[in-house]
């Protein structure tokens, strides 16, 4: 289990993450919803160790990573697919994948990544900046999987993608979960998260304002919409 207990972070003078706690089991998907500026991206970067944060406890399968560096957290089995993809533009597709160091569990064979994303194999010699948005997203996910992580943090993986590509991303996430990896999925699209997540948390102003199993909200998403500040569209 990936367990985060009472994590706090600042962004400049802003107190962005205010005591968030959450957990996800292997083979499960935790959805994180929230409006722009709720602190979701800072949370993901803080969990990986890229953003300075203080937490009461961060454990990965019982192993304490509270004071571990980003590199040690990645070696222990965490990986991030960042918002905006952030692939390396001057590296080829193949270099983007090969440059990833192995974790303690080892490293995926590059052929395995190409099996998941055949389009990447076709584009293996192309520079990162020559790829379409969808291809870049596939590469960002493939790059994160290269270190064979036990837990994958996905930060808005469908942002700016065409619906057909979004469907591909859904399939990829389902497969990742079915392989026994834990997934933390940050998104703004409620339906997308409800389709994939077993549990979810809703963040607002750096705090968790709602949490629970997602099944209950599939039938009645009213409470979610209220917390996300979206009108239910009830006619007057």
């Amino acid at each position: 289990m990936l367990e985060i207990v009472d994590i706090h972070a600042n962004h400049g003078d802003s107190y962005t993450i205010q005591g968030v706690s959450m957990s996800v089991e292997r083979g499960a998907c935790l959805g994180v919803l929230g409006r722009n500026g709720a602190g979701k991206t800072t949370l993901m970067q803080s969990v990986l160790g890229l953003h300075p944060a203080r937490a009461q406890r961060i454990t990965l399968d019982g192993r304490d990573l509270t004071r571990a560096s980003a590199r040690d957290r990645i070696r222990a089995g965490l990986a991030l697919v960042p918002q905006g993809r952030r692939i390396f533009p001057t590296l080829t597709v193949e270099e983007n994948l090969r440059v990833v160091p192995p974790s303690e569990a080892g490293r995926l064979d590059i052929a395995d990544v190409y099996r998941r994303f055949p389009r990447l194999q076709e584009r293996r010699s192309n520079m990162g900046h020559q790829l379409s948005g969808g291809e870049q997203q596939m590469l960002a996910i493939g790059r994160a999987l290269m270190s064979d992580p036990q837990y994958l943090l996905l930060d808005e993986p469908t942002e700016g993608l065409a619906p057909t590509i979004v469907a591909e991303v859904v399939d990829v996430i389902r497969r990742v979960v079915s392989e026994g990896r834990g997934v933390v999925l940050v998104e703004q699209g409620i339906q997308f998260v409800l389709d994939l997540a077993d549990d979810l948390v809703v963040m607002d102003h750096g705090k968790v304002v709602l949490s629970g199993g997602s099944a209950q909200y599939r039938e009645d998403s009213g409470p979610l919409l209220t917390h996300l500040g979206i009108s239910t569209g009830t006619p007057r």
Binding site: F88, V100, R143
Partner: protein
Amino acid sequence: MLRIALDGLSFGSLLFIAAIGMSLSFGVLRLVNLAHGGLFMLGAYLASSLLSWPGGWVTAIFGSAVAVGLLGLAIERGLLRYFRTNHLAQVLITLGIVFILHWLTLAVWGGAPLLSAPPEIVSSGVSISGQQYPVYRLALIGFGLVMFVAIWLVFSRTRYGAMVRATVDDEQMARGIGLRSELIGATVFAVGAALAGMAGAIGLPYLGAYPGLDGEVLLFSLIIIIIGGAGSILGSFIAAITVGLINAFTAAYLPFVSSFVLFAVMIVLLIFRPYGLLGREIVASVHLPQSDGLGGKAIDAVAKRVAALRTSGGQP
């Protein structure tokens, strides 16, 4: 004419080896290293002493490269890594190192210029246009080409090169996939310093070693970085050869405006290509902690004081 061109090519080749380290340090680490010329000068002085050791030129070249490379590593690990985002502090620190190296070399080797004969194997001459031309200078051209190809292959064809380019592209994300971007930066800085030391040693029969050599090499290196583009290996090579040729031809035909022509080329290029021939915009993608610790705070305080004096027109 051919002799002048060869002079330009040999000087340009030497400048490439001298400047590439500074270009990579700025392109990869965003580090402004004004001590780079001092590292070149130290390499030349060290080589002049190491020549009397067993192994002669081999010991002198590799000994200078290793010693100056280790000094570069110490400078980066001991000082500069704490100021990755503070260019003013980098300027002040490396300027301090320039003074230290200047006085150190003066104290150890004295103020008289040192010059040595080229290595035995390249000490002869070949007939070009009916006149003897030193093989040493032709060897400089060949060595410059070999170094260019070697550095280019390392950076474009190896996993280490890919890691360096990934760090240049997005330092935070490089850490986000588990790369030791700080260590990568340190090795780039050390290798750049080693190349400067090696260039100083190789250039000893050409330029010699004397107080003030550091300033001249630094100026040429800056021009090469501006023309070629920071962090671009091919850009640095083209710029170094161009600078060498301009320097040789203007020295032969327009000696009174030699320096002016170099700066004019640089200024024109800056107007039309602000990031150099093959450079890219330097984006502040370094996400490391700001200066910290007592030393960091002291340097920050000095940097802020200098900035305040500058904006107040020098009035305290």
